[in-house]
């Protein structure tokens, strides 16, 4: 009986290139293996409509749940016998947290300009394959502000306060 385990979380663009990825399993021991996986997975799911509801597929004996928005493709991978609904909860947490952090403009450009937020987001969701947090408000809150008690779900006002800090990131463009 094992603890639910996440094998990877991928954020790819609409051509299958990496925006931000995190692997938690040795099954992909080097970068070329990872890239091959990403390309195949992207190709296999590209034509499906995963924009309204999260979609699901079996791929190379893994379960993959995924969701698309604008030119971003979100993926979460688990083992073949994993509870699919747990996987989709993680996916939704990541997806919604990114939506909060990017203040509703969820596309590749915004993601790259706020890559630090995306990477911190990933860091708050899964640690070494173990789920840390699935609530998008909590995740976004922890990322956007460090002075607020991380465990308390944020009210709308505190979120906008917190995201004002994030906007500051944006202002200092990566020149």
């Amino acid at each position: 009986e094992s603890c639910p385990s996440i094998k990877n979380i991928l954020l790819l663009d609409s051509e299958g290139n990496r925006v931000a990825v995190k692997y938690y399993s040795d099954e992909w021991p080097n970068n070329s293996v990872k890239e091959a996986f990403e390309k195949s997975l992207f190709t296999k799911t590209q034509k499906t409509n995963a924009r309204t509801e999260a979609e699901i597929a079996m791929f190379e004996s893994h379960i993959i749940v995924y969701k698309f928005v604008q030119d971003l493709h979100f993926f979460v991978t688990g083992a073949e016998n994993e509870n699919e609904l747990i996987l989709v909860t993680v996916l939704q947490g990541f997806f919604d947290a990114v939506g909060l952090l990017l203040r509703g403009t969820v596309d590749k450009k915004e993601a790259l300009e706020n890559l630090d937020l995306i990477l911190l987001c990933l860091d708050e969701i899964v640690d070494g394959g173990i789920i840390l947090e699935t609530d998008a408000n909590v995740i976004a809150g922890k990322v956007a502000s460090h002075s607020i008690d991380a465990a308390a779900p944020l009210s709308e006002q505190t979120i906008s306060q917190a995201l004002a800090t994030a906007r500051e990131h944006l202002a200092r463009s990566l020149l």
Partner: protein, 601 residues
């Protein structure tokens, strides 16, 4: 133009930029940006040499001097990404230990995660005290950080982590949802070999309060484990803890409902009565608007259908509507489930629905369906005609090698196992090779025809198909056809005159293998075209199997030194040191069809 803030980014330039980490007056925002760039490079698969990685790491350690929280947060992330070696770790240990006891919760939580990621055994004993305190920390983020780190550390330093049992036990009682989840996971892993302890844990929690769906899912899994390991008190009523599982079917979180339903379907020797509430719930999921729910349900029901098909028949209507599901995995699972639960009278209707469906799906799904159809045919052999027709039709349509091979294998198995299907099956295969693009399949089928054809009531009807291959195909197939013709001639004396005529024509073939084979058979079958019996020894020589592996024979021949002593085939070793092929196949044992193709050129 594809805009990216990282356009033109280059590792060397970023490493130069990282020098700002050494500034006496640190600019936190600037440093954060550089870290982001470094993380971007790492994420994109850029490789850092050992020297570069070490330099970056040392530079990053300087950033502990800044009190900026945003920067510190980025430092934690990049330290983990750089995975410093043991001797490098020492540089940051004291800074991290300081953070581990900081008043700032975020520092404590993250420093714990970083330290436990990069630590070794000796450092661990030094910080153990703080980790134990952290597990029962008031702040849930800190507690979770310590517990999750404990789960990881259990792999490398189990003796140390096991000493934290008391604290972990206390954390299981935490009111914070995820702390309980993490504590439960860790406690179970610590105690998993102690059956009694797990039993106690499950007993108390199934009666107590579980504060998150994730923890509830864990509890369901552990409960299943306890049920599995408990001695079977089959006489006295219900299974232990079955009521708990059944109760979870009414939980408000879907992940819990599903986990419980699945757990029930996987109980050892589960009865129909026990299954019913689980199947009811799964049936509801089948009509959900969410693909993930439909998929989870149909996948589970598909498995149940293997052992308890009647329990799933109530879902047939819902299954049938899933055949047109946009998600092809769901559709395929629905079809294969129906193929398992269908009865003889529904077979024809099912085949009609599947025919439309097949053109819509990819080869990998088609193969799954083909396997299911084969199983169905073996289950209802009287239906062989329509099922065989179906297989023959799809064989003639578009498809890749693996898919066609799967169909051919299925037809071969049906021919072998259902005597009434043999003649029509062989004819279907004959028709297929008239238009087959895969040399491997053609030759294997010809070989198979050579074995089965002569045994039928009227072998002559296959001759035309086989001989046509000698005209129309490539050399490999032609050679195979020649051998098959000879086989017919050897086994069926009455056909010898006709076979000899055909074989003589093959003597004029362009290819020498074809000519050689024809020559061999003409000279050994005997009778020169008359209706005589072929000697058993000749049959064995021509068509018997080679007793030794080809590889060994080749090696022995190479090692043979020409001398007066003739080469002795009995000296060839019979066993082969096989190199295990990496086979990523499902665990189910498939009945073999024609056999695996040889490794390609």
């Amino acid at each position: 133009v594809d805009y990216s803030p990282f356009l033109g980014i280059e590792k060397g330039a970023v490493l130069q930029e990282a020098r700002v980490f050494n500034d006496p007056q640190l600019d936190p925002r600037r440093c954060s940006q550089v870290i982001t760039k470094l993380l971007y490079l790492l994420n994109q698969g850029e490789t850092f040499t050992k020297v570069e990685a070490t330099e970056v790491f040392f530079a990053v350690t300087k950033l502990f001097q800044s009190r900026d929280m945003g920067l510190r947060r980025m430092v934690y992330v990049i330290i983990k990404e750089l995975s410093p070696s043991a001797d490098e770790v020492i540089i940051v240990t004291s800074s991290l230990m300081k953070d581990m006891t900081s008043k700032t919760d975020m520092y404590r939580a993250n420093a714990i995660r970083v330290l436990c990621r990069i630590t070794d055994g000796t450092l661990l004993t030094q910080i153990e005290r703080y980790l134990k305190q952290a597990i029962v920390d008031k702040n849930p983020v800190v507690a979770s950080a310590a517990l999750v780190s404990g789960i990881h550390l259990l792999q490398t330093n189990p003796e140390i982590v096991k000493r934290w049992s008391n604290e972990v036990q206390e954390a299981v009682q935490s009111r914070a949802a995820l702390v309980q989840f993490h504590a439960l996971a860790l406690l179970h892993q610590i105690r998993q070999n102690d059956r009694l302890a797990v039993n106690k844990l499950v007993s108390s929690l199934t009666r107590g309060s579980v504060r998150s769906p994730l923890a509830q899912c864990l509890l369901i899994r552990y409960t299943s484990q306890v049920i599995r390991e408990s001695t079977n008190d089959t006489q006295t009523g219900d299974r232990p803890f079955y009521d708990f599982l059944e109760g979870c079917l009414r939980h408000k979180a879907e992940m819990v409902i599903f986990e419980a339903a699945r757990a029930i379907t996987e109980l050892n020797g589960v009865t129909s009565r026990e299954l019913t509430p689980a199947i009811t719930v799964l049936q509801l999921f089948l009509s959900s608007s969410k693909p993930v729910l439909r998929f989870a349900a149909v996948r589970t029901l598909n498995k149940v259908a293997m052992s308890h098909p009647t329990a799933v028949t109530n879902c047939n209507i819902d299954m049938e509507s899933l055949i047109s599901d946009q998600n092809r995995s769901i559709a395929t699972l629905a079809i294969t489930t129906l193929l398992k639960t269908g009865n003889e009278s529904s077979v024809d209707r099912l085949m009609k629905q599947i025919t439309n469906f097949m053109s819509d799906i990819a080869d990998e799904f088609k193969i799954v369906v083909v396997d299911a159809i084969r199983s169905l045919c073996l289950k209802f052999p009287l239906k062989h005609r329509s099922l065989m027709n179906f297989l023959s039709n799809i064989l003639r349509e578009e498809g890749g090698f693996e898919y066609k091979k799967a169909i051919v294998d299925s037809i071969v198995i049906l021919i072998r196992d259902i005597p009434e299907a043999k003649e029509s099956g062989l004819l279907h295969l004959c028709e297929f090779i008239e238009d087959c693009e895969f040399t491997y399949l053609s030759t294997q089928i010809l070989h198979f025809l050579g074995i089965e054809g002569p045994k039928t009531s009227d072998p002559s009807k296959y001759i035309r198909y086989i001989y046509n291959r000698v005209h129309l195909e490539n050399a490999t197939v032609r050679a195979g056809a020649v051998s098959t013709l000879a086989k017919f001639g050897a086994m069926v004396d009455g056909l010898k005159p006709r076979i000899f005529v055909l074989l003589r024509r093959c003597l004029f073939d362009n290819d020498d293998e074809v000519r050689d084979r024809a020559t061999l058979y003409l000279n050994t079958l005997g009778g020169d075209g008359a209706v005589v019996e072929t000697d058993d020894g000749v049959k064995e020589f021509l068509f018997g199997s080679l007793d030794v592996p080809l590889v060994n024979l080749e090696n022995s021949l190479k090692n043979y030194n020409p001398s007066e002593k003739a080469f002795d085939i009995n000296s060839v070793p019979k066993d082969v040191k096989t190199q295990p092929l990496a086979e990523k196949k499902a665990t189910s044992k498939k009945p073999t069809g024609l056999g695996a193709p040889p490794p390609g050129p």
